[in-house]
């Protein structure tokens, strides 16, 4: 009797556990496909960002196939869960190349795990497109050990570029003092340091800096201290779900304090609309619908595919990383890693956030502004939705008679 009752329950649990997170390995090795390995944290504390990553990669895959594929081949992404760990990222990167026959890799998400993915790319001599991780270690390694890491390219912004975009916005808003609070992870500390250097050059002073532990995120005391700092604006350095909880606390203790989030969770309209609109809530993003025709088209496609709009960061950058990689393969004209590396080093590849060009020495995408270049954007959440506030959308050119 007991066994009869138990069997359906255990079967359901076992069936569920048996369902693979990615695609079946049985599809591996098909000759008419171009396989790209995706390394993203699909479990662990950054699974939300990893899921956005995967959604965007799927969208880029579908777009490429809708255009007839690449070099006559159908694009197929093969997915691995890095779990946010360096060793897992390295091992899964090697597995995607050796067993899944991935031509190139896109990933990972966190700076720490991306360093592991770089080792996999170097060992297997496959291209790695880094979409999100911002640590200086990535470009430092490419510069100093060129022969080993020449296959690594970063599509996302580097820490100094990120700080530069944030500080340009703050300077334009005539901010005098700011507070910085973020999750105590590596790139956040690097961002705080770079932001301080960038803003001090513009005469903007840091009055408070604090980090909360991702493992023990007791937000209240950190929010209390930030609220007491008297800053003109609070820069929130956490693209994960911690930013939401922290923003709620800050709204309690300092309802009039403007917030500038570096992106991620607070770029989700479903989340942003639950915060009290007592003070401005700004979110920095790689691109945003309304900022450019391509960003608008991407936003509409993403929303149609997934039922809600993109966040402009953890989805847009991976989308562009894969789109740029595929464009470079097309430009190279053949499935040869060295040829694609050369194409990436010399070409310009339009995507959602703008035209991607890479610095030949560091393989860093040039987020340095300019009309056609990559410049990022800042939005303001207002009743009814988001509005692009930086850079100012250019007025249409008057037509000549």
């Amino acid at each position: 009797m007991r066994r009869r009752r138990l069997t359906p329950f255990l079967c359901a649990v076992l069936l569920l556990l048996a369902v693979p997170a990615g695609r079946s390995p049985s599809a591996a090795g098909r000759g008419d496909t171009l396989r790209i390995g995706i390394l993203a944290p699909l479990s662990g504390p950054y699974a939300s960002g990893g899921s956005s990553f995967l959604q965007a990669a799927r969208l880029a895959e579908e777009e490429a196939n809708a255009q007839g594929g690449v070099l006559g081949r159908r694009v197929e992404i093969v997915v691995a869960d890095t779990q946010g760990k360096v060793e897992t990222a390295r091992a899964e990167g090697l597995r995607l190349v050796s067993r899944e026959k991935a031509f190139a890799l896109v990933g990972a998400y966190l700076s720490e795990e991306t360093v592991g993915a770089m080792e996999a790319a170097a060992a297997s001599r496959r291209i790695l497109m880094v979409p999100v991780a911002a640590t200086a270690e990535i470009t430092d390694k490419i510069r100093s050990e060129r022969a080993r890491y020449r296959y690594v390219f970063r599509a996302g912004y580097a820490i100094p570029q990120w700080a530069g975009m944030l500080s340009a916005f703050l300077a334009e808003r005539k901010i005098r003092t700011y507070a910085f609070v973020g999750a105590a992870i590596r790139w956040n500390r690097e961002l705080a340091k770079a932001l301080k250097a960038s803003l001090s050059a513009r005469g903007i002073r840091s009055v408070h800096e604090a980090f909360y532990s991702p493992g023990n995120p007791a937000f209240d005391p950190v929010a209390v201290a930030a609220a007491r700092s008297g800053a003109d604006i609070l820069v929130l350095g956490d693209p994960g779900k911690g930013s939401l909880e922290f923003a709620k606390r800050v709204r309690d203790f300092a309802p009039k304090l403007p917030l500038l989030s570096v992106g991620g969770t607070l770029g989700d309209g479903r989340v942003a609309e639950t915060l009290p609109a007592t003070a401005p809530l700004f979110v920095q993003a790689a691109a945003w619908p309304g900022g450019s025709p391509e960003a608008t088209r991407y936003g509409e496609a993403f929303e149609k595919r997934y039922g809600y709009p993109p966040s402009g960061y953890s989805d847009t950058l991976p989308h562009d990383a894969l789109a740029v990689l595929l464009a470079a393969v097309r430009a190279a004209g053949r499935l040869e890693t060295d040829a694609v590396v050369r194409a990436l080093e010399t070409g310009s590849f339009p995507a959602v956030a703008g035209a991607y060009r890479f610095d030949p020495a560091t393989h860093q995408a040039l987020w340095t502004g300019g009309p056609e270049g990559l410049h990022g954007t800042v939005i303001s959440w207002e009743p009814g939705g988001a509005r692009v506030v930086y850079p100012h959308p250019r007025p249409p050119r008057p037509s000549r008679p």
Binding site: R3, V13, V19, Y212, A218, G230, D252
Partner: protein
């Protein structure tokens, strides 16, 4: 700015409110451990369920925290009853099966939540703070948490002391005797499991406005509740409440006073020390239990 007089005072207040919700969850675990005699690793999934119930209600315009808690209790009870009858009762004498099964249920629940609501963090609007008393910010949701938690845990303590709680106490002491005197032990166990699951769902619904709602959000509270139950023992509901609140305050105070990279490790070290000293600490040794 409406700021508090002292961050440390605010920490104590917030630890009290948040700890109250975790106490409710821990009280459910105590019931399951005492009566059903299993370590339920799916308890966090019921916490998550409660939070998603609150979210689902809020997007439909029902944002009352007490109503959300009541509906979460009903949903948690129904799922708990199903699980208690279909899985826990049949395998409860095999600890390994219980551990694997309840862990599997947690993963199943996380997958289902991800399928239904997506992988991203969701949010329930938080009502404005009630007021600042002596510079300390009092949140409406925190007060609701404290009142509901204290009422339910107090009610549980009174129930266990009353004539109606006798079957639970007897089953906890000796289920063979309970069975011999005509009690439907299986049914009482399933109902206890359901009630404890409802308590976890209520805790999730109460904390939903203050937190980010995500499929894996129940894992942290589960660990915290297990720590509370282990440290307080299974016999004293008052100790469960006190320890959950103390842990909430300790966690916040450490995060404020220490570097973030040390605060979590030091909190775990404090808990380990508490466990090691537990037999020697008055009030935590299990002597003089409510039961």
């Amino acid at each position: 700015m409406t700021g508090p007089a002292s961050p440390l005072v605010q920490i104590v207040a917030d630890g009290l409110f948040t700890g109250a919700a975790y106490a409710l969850m821990a009280a459910g675990l105590v019931l399951i451990l005492g009566v059903v005699k299993v370590v339920n690793l799916s308890h966090g999934a019921f916490f998550t369920l409660g939070a998603y119930v609150a979210y689902s209600l809020s997007v439909r315009g029902f944002a009352n925290p007490a109503a959300a808690a009541a509906i979460a209790a009903a949903v948690g009870y129904a799922f708990g009853l199903f699980m208690g009858r279909s899985f826990i009762n049949p395998v409860r004498t095999h600890p390994f099966s219980v551990a694997v099964g309840t862990l599997g249920f947690t993963l199943l629940a996380e997958q289902v939540a991800q399928s239904l609501w997506g992988p991203h963090a969701l949010s329930v609007a938080q009502e404005p703070p009630l007021s600042a008393v002596l510079g300390v910010m009092i949140r409406r949701q925190g007060v609701v948490c404290l009142v509901v938690s204290a009422a339910l845990i107090g009610g549980l303590a009174l129930f266990l002391r009353s004539r109606h709680g006798l079957p639970l106490k007897l089953i906890a002491e000796d289920e063979e005797i309970a069975s011999a005197v005509g009690m439907d032990v299986e049914r009482i166990r399933a109902l206890t499991f359901a009630a404890a699951s409802a308590a976890a769902a209520v805790a999730g619904a109460l904390l939903a406005p203050a937190t980010a709602i995500a499929p894996t959000m129940g894992r942290g509270p589960l660990i915290l509740s297990l720590i509370v139950v282990i440290a307080s023992g299974m016999e004293r509901t008052g100790a469960v409440f006190g320890l959950a609140v103390a842990l909430g305050i300790l966690s916040s105070a450490e995060a404020y006073l220490l570097d973030p990279q040390w605060s979590y490790a030091l909190m775990l070290a404090a808990v380990c020390a508490l466990l090691a000293l537990r037999p020697a600490l008055p009030g935590l040794s299990g002597a003089g239990s409510d039961r």
